[in-house]
Symmetry: C2
Subunit: 337 residues, 2 copies
Amino acid sequence: MKKISIRDIAKKAGVVPSTVSFVLNGKDKEMRISQVLTDKIKAIIEETGYYPNHTAVSLRTGKTKILGMLVEDIANVFFSTLARTIEDEAYAIGYKIVYCSTENNDEKGIELLKMLCRQQVDGFMITPSAGMVKEIQQLREQKMPLVLMDRYFPGLDIPYTLVDNQDGVQQGIEHLLQKGYKNIAFVTVDLDQVQMKERERAYKQVLQANQLSADNNLLKIPYKLKPEQYIDAITLFLKERTSIDAVFFATNYLGVYGLQSIRCLKLSIPADIAVVCFDDHDMFRFYTPSITVISQPIETIAKTAIRLLVEQLEKGVSTSNKKGVFVKGQLVLRNST
Amino acid sequence: MKKISIRDIAKKAGVVPSTVSFVLNGKDKEMRISQVLTDKIKAIIEETGYYPNHTAVSLRTGKTKILGMLVEDIANVFFSTLARTIEDEAYAIGYKIVYCSTENNDEKGIELLKMLCRQQVDGFMITPSAGMVKEIQQLREQKMPLVLMDRYFPGLDIPYTLVDNQDGVQQGIEHLLQKGYKNIAFVTVDLDQVQMKERERAYKQVLQANQLSADNNLLKIPYKLKPEQYIDAITLFLKERTSIDAVFFATNYLGVYGLQSIRCLKLSIPADIAVVCFDDHDMFRFYTPSITVISQPIETIAKTAIRLLVEQLEKGVSTSNKKGVFVKGQLVLRNST
DNA sequence: CTGAAAGCGCTTACAG
DNA sequence: CTGAAAGCGCTTACAG
């Protein structure tokens, strides 16, 4: 039972393959193929269950209708949620997604980029690590449609979309200030990543704008420690600084560890200490009586990414393509009922 | 700057494209191409940065080296973790993955299946919904390599891999019995899914084997309610049955809701009530002083799935392909430090 | 309206 | 060892 080809359909219909192709691609009117013939061909296609070989179409048209998605780690809920929306948006306009996880590793990311180029993907959606900048610039120069997500390279002409870190931190800190907290610590991870740096900068800036000093209340923890090590580091930090009455955690998992520390120290929340986290986490819904979160609008980010990509896919890549979009985060109070 | 093709390389090397192709595919020895020539060609390939157009290779060889992965929902941590390991395994042997989420919806699943067939994927890894059985059987008859994950169709000749539900429930219940609990409730979701039915059956069977009645302690909650509704249902159930001293939640999110209910009822854990959950959840590590979990070895499931698929990819699909593999779950005690 | 032909970029028997 | 040719299954100018 060999696969049916367009020639088989043509033979059955008593026409030449081109005619079938025109019908298949909705060019029957344009090519002035009679309605009767069109219907006949459509009936045969229906009846035989024929569908075009996508590989052949790709080779001929030069378009695979596949997009490459490079995220840091698909098992991470942020990226898998992103992937979910991207999937819907992409499939709706006829694109499939090939995914891979870079692990935030430059070499792996570059390798995967090459692999997907070889695969002839039509475009890229990338959560880049800092070391991938050269390869990404090259792709951009070669007019490959691409968009960065969750990260970006400030100053470079590469489209991106991510949460507005500056604004988010500002929302969070001002929320705490408004509640009357004065000694607001900031716990972040020591990582060469634009968004972390921006969050830290924003923290300092907002405190400064309010005539408060950020000098002694900043904790930077190394990247990729074990849970216990995070918890210990935060515990030690909080123990030594009893004047702290609020903490801003720069990302959700720090918040999760921080809550553990706070519990170890028998500080109650929010009576003794107020907490704000960047990025949401399932756990915040249950863990504690009250925690404030700067929630990333992941759906919006995903939709924006696809929009920016489609723009390039359709109109071609140029410097006139809208460069970058910051999406506002949302202040959300998480309460367990 | 047009893309370089094999003909360009051939021209540069002063040979015919076939020769380049042989070198490219490691058939230089076989075709007795001189070492000198091979080296020369390789140097040119290196120098020009040429790589074969995968679409053309696919059309010619009939193999796309793409696998289709249909999961219920990529945003769900179980499936995204599965996806992560599958990715590693697949890339290591030269396959890419196209993913899609079926939402456990028969029609959507069938549609996606068709779409991926059109895309000429080489094989499928599927988390099927019950209604997809016919289409999956058809694929199997057409000798399409495929493997089911997390679900299966008992009695049908379709390879699968999933956790051993019977064994897992038995481990959990016997753990509770051993601890001296006598009135063990079972909370599950009312869904036509093999694994849920198997877990329920196992619960009844184990109780029966221990001369205990399961009649009054079984709660089946409708699928896809809102969190509050789950919590309310469980709360009501536990309130009405004060003799219950332990609960087995059939899946992790029920456990998460259950813990909320237990907290609402001011029952402490595990002093007043012991809890076991099927499937792990991040939250169990933090939420409560102690909870026992039947942890699914997701990595093993993923690796097994790839293994079963590769077997078919390489040796062809036949009824002699090993049919199904149950993977044993692990009893894990979750403690917060 | 329809047909014959070229060509997308490869791989692989076949001939020498 | 090397070369010429067919063909994977399509699409699309071109000619009539």
